[in-house]
Symmetry: C2
Subunit: 225 residues, 2 copies
Amino acid sequence: MPCPLYSYTYPHPAVTTDVVLFTIKDTRLQLLLVQRAAEPYQDYWALPGGFLEIDETLEACALRELAEETGIDGVYLEQLYTFGQPDRDPRERVISVAYYALAPFDRLTPRAASDARRVGWHPIDSLPALAFDHTRIIDLAHRRLVAKLDYTTIALQFLEPEFTFRELQTVYECILNARLDKRNFRKRIHALDLLQETGNLVRNGNHRPAKTYRSKNPAEVVILK
Amino acid sequence: MPCPLYSYTYPHPAVTTDVVLFTIKDTRLQLLLVQRAAEPYQDYWALPGGFLEIDETLEACALRELAEETGIDGVYLEQLYTFGQPDRDPRERVISVAYYALAPFDRLTPRAASDARRVGWHPIDSLPALAFDHTRIIDLAHRRLVAKLDYTTIALQFLEPEFTFRELQTVYECILNARLDKRNFRKRIHALDLLQETGNLVRNGNHRPAKTYRSKNPAEVVILK
DNA sequence: GCAAAAGTGTTCCAGATACACCCATGT
DNA sequence: ACATGGGTGTATCTGGAACACTTTTGC
């Protein structure tokens, strides 16, 4: 163990980031958890995250920790909220800047980090016991996601660049946990004028093939209304 | 100057809070700034804020710094966003958890802290040069306020417990920077069923007196829609 | 030819907007 | 009596919700 080397006139809290990574898998909204290998909360599941390095941005820290612990990159990331209850970590005072992230499942191939922690997807409605205040963080992230679904184009972040209308509707249905009317849904999305036909079709079973679409503006999440 | 006393194995950033305190004064949306007495950004105006103490919550820190620097308390406070660009403070790495606060102007009597910094109200549309990244923080707070105005009851936080309909409409008009139709505004607010008549009237010039209202739920900001 | 998902329009309702006049008071 | 802001109702528009049948394919 290295000697204490960094000294300050006043006490400084530690700063961490935690990431709630959502995806749609098996037509369910799921999120990524890692199983803790050490105390505190050993063997509990937790959000991927860790300590901020002194020269990196908060966002870089969130992406780095996600990559280190799960091997995942290239996700959409947005700051959620900062949690700082004095007793949230028994080791020392920790301020955690929480982020949420979204990505299409097929782009994601989680693998445990070298320290052999397990990594896995968990449906939002059947989560295991969680470390720290991570239940609260997930709950807030989920509510933010539901809210943003209907005034932003955030749903597109769950999809590959080319997708069918049905896939997009499934994203909405999984997040809202409700079935939507196909005609009204298509009318509403078309009215936003966000998508363009690719001209391609996907054959996908014994029924009529589906047209595929592409976002006109895939890089950005746009605020509607 | 005290000796360095607090040592860590890894470097820790400093954590601060900053508060964007809004009020309605002279039928304009204004916010509270303090003039900096020391470097960096000496003489620049800045948001009230300061370093987190190791045992206080983030929210307590925001309220404490506001009280210390301006003598103001009893405001509505909500977390805004956390700013952590590595170069945002030239002295050391600082993570700032920004809050915004709202209060009726008459409840507020700012006075400079003992170190003789000036404290003052500034209309949102004519701000002086600001220290650090405080322009960005204010811009985000302002956009959040405008957005929350139409899906929460946040406007009531600008008013005394007892107020007239015209006062409430003025809050909306100052924040949205637009004039609203009196009849439609009253109809919309009445439909929300948030207010009750007090039975009192205020005489306020050579015209018909106005009924006053009270929030049915003054302590809470409720999410509508 | 049948099962299965893709694709398409119209009617209805509710909430938002536009708009003009009478009321109670002070001077 | 008149100037000033307080207080009220109706017609219209628009976006969302409900709802059923035809099309294209694989087997």
